[in-house]
Symmetry: C2
Subunit: 195 residues, 2 copies
């Protein structure tokens, strides 16, 4: 932290990330980021000459942090794979605020821009791959683990959508519980329930 510029850059990124989560990328102006960050206009343009530069840095920071966090949890080989999967599915989540990353798939200014889409794509591709590996560790064949990994990640994303639609955090929990209750017997027996 000897670089005197670092705190300002971080403050700008933190403000952008919080605002994107609350109101989307499209709905957030550089001026709002400036106001929330408390940083001067010169610093904004020094670190992020364009709104696009700021958006790309903020989105990438959010996706990288999220993937690092879930990766640490899912690849912790001190715990049995089934336990890691259930812990991932059941981790506490801000249901009503929605997923910081999933919600970007409804943000026009992200989806219409290949560079901004890229970290969102890579986050979900990386997450599904991680979850698939853990399903494979439980003994499922690749092809079954593949679909089940998509299902596990979708349950969380869809649970967020339901919680927001119903204004009820219990909806996310019910979706996850419903999924986990179907998962348990196969995982705990270490057997394959292929279709």
């Amino acid at each position: 932290m000897d670089d005197p510029d670092l705190p300002r850059r971080e403050r700008l990124l933190r403000a952008a990330r919080d605002l994107y989560w609350a109101q989307g990328v499209e709905g957030t102006s550089p001026r709002q980021v400036l106001e929330v960050s408390g940083v001067g206009q010169g610093s904004l343009y020094h670190h992020f000459p364009t709104k696009h530069d700021l958006s790309l840095a903020a989105i990438s920071a959010t996706t990288q942090e999220a993937l690092d966090s879930v990766s640490g949890e899912l690849t912790d080989t001190d715990r049995p794979p089934a336990e890691r999967l259930v812990a991932y599915l059941e981790r506490p989540r801000p249901a009503l605020a929605g997923c910081k990353i999933g919600r970007l798939t409804s943000d026009r200014s992200v989806m219409a821009d290949d560079e901004l889409r890229s970290p969102v794509h890579d986050y979900f591709a990386g997450l599904v791959a991680l979850v698939q590996e853990v399903f494979e560790e439980t003994g499922l064949p690749d092809v079954v683990a593949h679909d089940r990994a998509y299902a596990a990640v979708a349950i969380v994303q869809g649970g967020y959508v339901l919680a927001r639609a119903l204004d009820d955090p219990a909806a996310l929990r019910a979706a996850v519980d419903g999924f986990v209750s179907m998962l348990d017997p196969a995982l705990q027996a270490g057997t394959v329930v292929a279709r």
Copy 2:
């Protein structure tokens, strides 16, 4: 269709619904709706004096149509309940365009307005209730059917999010297939796999 006003009202609603799906409610101006509908400005203000009136009518039409459609499918008692559930889960969906209704949960101008939120809430509440009833018909106890219904609806919503994030319609299909493959044994045996 004797009412000469009806076609114009319908054209306005159709234009609004298509634009909302493509670019969100927040991102759609009454002017764009006018242009796409080809209807004159006087008709717009006659039928929908405010943007809010138009938004409420368009969102309600979309949610009502969707619930009617899925209700017909889920309550068709000529088919066994398990078959209806799988048909619901596997129905063809425009994965990359996203769910017309689910995406509204990321639309600020909908979520911040109690009246506009209401049809979105009612759609998902109605859908989950319908799916729960069909799970109960398969012999699951209410409490299990409850969570499983949330999971089934969440799988579809999350599948849409994944398909858009990965720019790959196969992601929605994989999520649904993963879920259905876990559902089958219990449903086909008519037995309960409670947690």
